[in-house]
């Protein structure tokens, strides 16, 4: 039997990665719900429990006419949205050739670096990974969010950047975001999304 043709249902695959507490799972929720609003079949997968305690956190989101596995395989991810530079590097192998890594320009040193002998990867290490047929865009999301007065909205800001790469109407993103954040933070998150879009258009 031959299975050599990439199936027609090939999904649009997203991988969101960060450190526990950075808002990775909320961002993944929003990406999934935008897919639903666009009429796709959608699956999202993440692991709770021990992984939350300051550990590496990932969430897979897939949009397609019909999604089977909730997880993308290495080499299948179209967009890696990383909220921390080391986590971006850790999951870069998940990207397909030509895939896009959107990387929050922010470092959180893991314990083995602060109290052990490990070293945080250098920019040269990063470049050697991204040179492998990938497109890596560093987004100063932390600083841009800080300028809006609340560093925590860097996750929604990153989604603003992502949105310029996709066909989804801007209004769909804004409606989904408004439905998923507390009422008193809707305006702030909307501004963060706008700031992300502006940055995305600059990087594009």
């Amino acid at each position: 039997m031959t299975e050599s043709d990439r199936p027609l249902y090939a999904p649009q695959n997203f991988l969101l990665a960060g450190v526990g507490g950075q808002g990775t799972l909320l961002a993944a929720d929003i990406v999934a719900l935008v897919g639903v609003a666009l009429g796709h079949d959608v699956k999202k997968s993440e692991v709770h429990g021990m992984a939350q305690r300051g550990g590496s956190v990932t969430s897979h989101v897939r949009w397609a006419e019909k999604v089977y596995s909730p997880l993308s395989a290495p080499g299948e991810v179209d967009y890696l949205i990383a909220f921390e530079r080391l986590e971006a590097l850790r999951y870069a192998n998940m990207l397909r050739p030509g895939g896009v890594a959107l990387v929050n320009d922010y470092r959180i040193a893991p314990g083995s670096v602060t109290s052990g002998g490990d070293t945080y990867p250098s920019e040269a290490d990063e470049a050697s990974v991204y040179a492998a047929n990938l497109r890596a865009l560093h987004v100063p999301a932390q600083a841009l969010a800080q300028a809006l007065g609340q560093v925590r909205v860097n996750n929604v800001l990153m989604l603003g950047v992502l949105s310029v790469f996709l066909d989804a109407p801007e209004s769909v993103w804004r409606e989904v975001i408004a439905s998923r954040v507390p009422a008193r933070y809707v305006a702030l998150n909307d501004r963060a999304f706008s700031a992300g879009r502006a940055e995305g258009l600059r990087l594009l």
């Binding site: 039997m1 031959t2 299975e3 050599s4 990439r6 199936p7 090939a10 450190v19 526990g20 999934a32 719900l33 639903v36 079949d41 959608v42 699956k43 999202k44 997968s45 692991v47 709770h48 429990g49 021990m50 992984a51 939350q52 305690r53 300051g54 550990g55 590496s56 999604v67 089977y68 596995s69 909730p70 997880l71 395989a73 290495p74 080499g75 299948e76 080391l86 590097l89 850790r90 870069a92 192998n93 998940m94 040193a109 893991p110 314990g111 083995s112 670096v113 602060t114 109290s115 052990g116 490990d118 070293t119 945080y120 990867p121 290490d125 050697s128 990974v129 492998a132 047929n133 990938l134």
Partner: protein, 608 residues
């Protein structure tokens, strides 16, 4: 409209739609959100129990009394509840009895990856396996119908990837409120429900006959289905493995089993007859494979696909490619295999750690200093085993710490040893073990880390918190009183943020010739009340001698400074004000008082 629901949320919705009236469980990843989602729904009762054995007894009681009931637990919880599973299998039920068991292949948050489907065959209890959120919802109804038709409890086995993956779900109609109002009469039937040997002897053949009838029905059950395709490869699969197999073999013939025990013998034989090569793809043990072999169907399964760990599209593809079942699928060539990335040094890992301000840190820092052997237990505090604290030396299952520590003490080792157990874990299965320590009077020091919650699984209530799952206030268990009444006379309460009192108390207890309990009481730093007390501390850089003592506490808020100490050239410490809670443990260990205590800080975070 379809809703995006996790497997756990869909299960809860399915239980509500299907008229489950009583639900009980104990939190455990990846099952916890099922009862958390179910508890606020109208017309139902749901509770956390001290452990899974109690929870299953509660669900069995509700079923005996005529109410549809559900017990919820993670895979290792069923070990605790196994006694109840086996008697319920032999008595059968009055109303539908569903046992939801969440396995954790790959051990994302568990000590083992045992395959719950084995319990089905062991106890003669049918096992259903959903493959996505929609099936989680639908299979609750299937399970309850099977339970009532065939007079048996039914296990619904999920896995981490089913429980915590979200998919679109077509929900059914809301539950009819009338169904909630009925008050059943308890039907007395001793020959069915009193398992004296004489009655049990009569029930055993009935149980065997019931499961044979389920096996017959399995051949036509809609959740067991053949999906015709290319006949050169026929795949028998179940659960999450079905999804991965579908990705790798888009054109093959499939026999998808929703009921994985008992196996549908005629359906499998018919499927096998129509394909050239029969391939079994299942996560965990070769359960379906063994069933096929028992029927004399030549097949391949674990000789190709991994026995250990979680499956994925990638592992299924790699194995299938090696076995010549598929041609190369070029789009699956990972970028990591590109030459540029190969020479990269290993990335520093980011394992879970004790949070900033975690009260357990003070106890583990002291245990490390005292160089005692620590027999630990299951909870956040198991992370005390990791460097730089490295102060926990055994951890097996819920409640094991105290019995193991007692045994270690009896063996007569050179060092002192202690048991460390959390509050929720103590209520779960620690009480009987502490009773044993008191009864047999070993010198065991038991440290109960009382952070007033079930922290690891996300802050669930327990008998000591004063609230139930549904938010009803209840008298909290008196932990000191409970420990005393078990026969422990030496009971001390300390604040784990006060290192001196922790050390003094532990030293005093280790010197005793009698059992003792030290309760280290301080709420989890992530609870809302604790968060209100946060006050980030500051290192006075001019005083810091870069000795690294504070950083060896393993607190994520303490990091290396860019500033070096001139004498040694080593980095000083800085405190991340976003992460620091102000627990002052680091300030207490600093040998040169370079870290300011809360009362030394002025309003701007400078020195008062």
């Amino acid at each position: 409209m379809k809703r995006l629901l996790s497997g756990n949320q869909a299960l809860a919705r399915g239980a509500w739609e299907s008229g489950v009236r009583v639900a009980a469980g104990y939190p455990g990843t990846p099952s916890t959100e099922i009862l958390e989602t179910f508890a606020p729904m109208p017309g139902i009762y749901a509770e956390w129990c001290p452990n899974e054995k109690v929870a299953l007894d509660v669900a069995i009681g509700a079923s005996y009394a005529g109410a549809r009931a559900m017990a919820v637990m993670k895979h290792v919880g069923l070990n605790v509840a196994a006694d109840a599973l086996f008697y319920a299998a032999i008595t059968g039920v009055e109303a539908g009895l569903l046992i939801v068991v969440a396995d954790d292949p790959g051990m994302h948050s568990s000590q083992g990856e045992q395959d719950t489907r084995r319990y089905g065959k062991f106890a003669r209890v049918p096992v259903l396996e959903p493959s996505d959120s929609q099936e989680c919802l639908e299979m609750v109804a299937t399970a309850l119908e099977l339970s009532e038709t065939f007079d048996t409890p039914v296990i619904l086995r999920t896995t981490t990837r089913i429980a915590h993956s979200y998919g679109l779900v077509e929900v059914g109609p809301d539950r009819a409120p009338a169904a909630d109002a009925e008050r059943p009469t308890y039907r007395v039937d001793p020959t069915k429900y009193v398992m004296l040997p004489g009655n049990a002897r009569r029930r055993h053949p009935i149980m065997e006959d019931n499961i044979r009838r389920v096996a017959e029905a399995a051949n036509t059950l809609p959740c067991n289905r053949i999906e015709p395709g290319d006949r050169s490869v026929g795949i028998v699969t179940s659960g999450a493995a079905y999804q991965y197999a579908r990705e790798v073999f888009p054109n093959a013939s499939f026999c998808r089993l929703g009921l994985s025990y008992p196996a549908p013998t005629r359906l499998l034989a018919e499927f096998a007859a129509g394909v050239e090569r029969l391939i079994i793809i299942e996560e965990g043990d070769p359960v379906l494979e063994e069933e096929c072999r028992l029927q004399g169907l030549p097949c391949e399964g674990k000789s190709i696909f991994p026995l250990v760990g979680e499956l994925s599209t990638e592992t299924v593809y790699d194995a299938a490619l090696r076995a010549g079942l598929v041609d190369e699928q070029p789009w699956r060539a990972p970028v990591a295999r590109a030459p540029q990335a190969r020479d990269l040094p290993a990335l520093p890992p980011r394992p879970p750690v004790l949070c900033p301000g975690c009260p357990h840190r003070g106890v583990f820092a002291t245990l490390r200093k005292l160089k005692v052997v620590v027999n630990g237990d299951i909870g956040c505090y198991t992370l005390g085993a990791l460097p730089p604290l490295s102060a926990l030396h055994s951890c097996g299952c819920m409640g094991a710490s105290i019995g193991v520590a007692h045994g270690v003490a009896l063996a007569g080792i050179q060092q002192h040893n202690v048991a460390v157990i959390g509050d929720s874990t103590f209520y779960h299965t620690g009480i009987a073990a502490l009773l044993n320590v008191a009864y047999n009077q070993s010198r065991t020091v038991t440290i109960i880390l009382d952070n007033s919650t079930t922290a690891m699984t996300g802050h669930q209530q327990h008998p000591g918190t004063g609230y139930t799952l549904q938010g009803r206030p209840t008298p909290p268990a008196d932990l000191e009183g409970l420990v005393r009444v078990l026969g422990i006379q030496q009971v001390h309460v300390v604040d784990p943020y006060d290192l001196e009192s922790v050390e003094t108390t532990l030293k005093a207890c280790l010197a005793l010739d009698a059992p003792s309990v030290v309760i280290a009481r301080r709420a989890c730093a992530l609870l809302p009340e604790a968060r209100k007390q946060y006050r980030p501390l500051r290192v006075q850089a001019d005083k810091c001698i870069a000795c690294g003592t504070c950083r060896r506490l393993g607190c994520p808020a303490l990091t290396k400074s860019d500033e070096l100490y001139a004498k040694t050239g080593k980095p000083k410490t800085v405190i991340d004000p976003v992460l620091c809670t102000g627990c002052e443990i680091c300030a207490q260990v600093c040998p040169v008082d370079a870290i300011l205590f809360r009362n030394q800080l002025d309003d701007s975070g400078g020195q008062a």
